[in-house]
């Protein structure tokens, strides 16, 4: 008799969640990343019904793995390591869209003219500095 369910945990469960969320075209990247973290943190194992639906792998669907705009804090990196450290972190993000998403999520103001990845990175560093200065002013 064939199995009708399958228990998942560990790496296979993480892969299942990633593919499940990546296949949801209408799920914003930020929400997807947040949901993925929550599911991975709170669920140790699940039992899924078989057969599993065939989902296009993210690469086949033409989409990238979910970008997490909260993977690091620009304020924390800049405060601890300075502008060079923050630039190094931002250099790991190639897509201008992802850089814009990071700035929006972390409430870092960037000027309208910043379109290229390089300009966006510089604007994020500048905006983060202003944000830190603003907080200091509020507490003075």
């Amino acid at each position: 008799m064939s199995k009708t369910t399958r228990q998942m945990s560990g790496a296979s469960l993480a892969k299942y969640f990633r593919e499940l969320l990546a296949a949801e075209q209408n799920l914003p990247a930020e929400s997807g990343a947040s949901l993925l973290r929550t599911l991975q943190a709170e669920l140790a194992q699940v039992r899924v019904r078989l057969p599993l639906p065939v989902r296009k792998a993210p690469a086949e669907a033409g989409s990238q793995p979910l970008f997490d705009p909260f993977a690091f804090s620009t304020v924390v990196v800049l405060t601890k390591g300075g502008a060079a450290a923050l630039l190094e972190k931002l250099n790991t993000i190639a897509s201008p869209d992802d850089l814009r998403e990071l700035a929006r999520a972390q409430h870092i103001a960037i000027p309208a003219g910043a379109d290229t990845a390089g300009a966006l990175r510089a604007a994020i560093i500048d905006g983060t500095s202003r944000r830190i200065a603003d907080r200091k002013a509020a507490a003075s």
Binding site: A33, R37, F70, V76, T79, R135, K136, A139
Partner: protein, 294 residues
Amino acid sequence: MAYFLAVANRKGGVGKSTVSVMLAHALAAWGGQRVLMMDLDSQCNASLILMGGEAWSAARREGRTISDYFFDLFDETHPEPRDYLVHQTGDVVDQAGKPLRISLLPGSLMLEDVQGELYVKEARQSKDPETVGNRVRGRLERLLRRFEPNFDVVILDCPPGLSFAALAALKAADRVLVPFRPDYVSQLAVDRVALLIEDRRNGEHLAEVPLDQRRYVCLANSVRETGRERLLIDEIALDHPMLATRMPHSDAIANAFDWDPQPKSIDQKYGAGAAALRRLYDELAAGAAHRIAA
């Protein structure tokens, strides 16, 4: 010598009273401590949670609230401050089914008015506002300390904003717990209350005090663990001492504060939230092992 723990934040709605009550339960239930809760917030939420509306109303009629205590004893003539306390409050019992040793100095809606009256009373002795303010605060601080010999831990549930009573509590405290919600406005509120607790003028002066030498520690409360919240907590921890424990946004905790006289264990009271409370208790007790550990 009692250990004085103030729970304070100038911002309202961050969970000062609920955290105060949870800690009172934890210290009494798991630590076996004799706990006194002093409700300095004129919203009186801690009192209502611990004793219910009817008993609190009776305490008001009988003149046994914190504003009565401050007013009657301001000149330090009343013989027995213990008359103002209500003992064995709350609905949590120990493993043997006995009420926990949690006493309460009930809150009062009149606390701000009484502090104004005390200021006027003191102003007859001096014309200098700063001198008068310091004297009122100093007298209230001494009144807060009068229960010291009879308890192991005194929890000072502070009001939002500033008042002589709040300042007296911050002065009297061995440790100040600053609950906050992980949002932008709370971040600014933590910065401000830290200046007040450490008596510093601005952030640069505050930074001169090493994190491990500060009298306060921050507690992220009602946390949903979203990416934005995690980042804000990390950012606050850059400048302020932070407990590793984060109190989760939890229905079990939120629903635990309805007045219910039915006796229950602390695990029954807080349900799924009891584990987080246990972590908070363990972490705080570890930080003051010589004073409040079980």
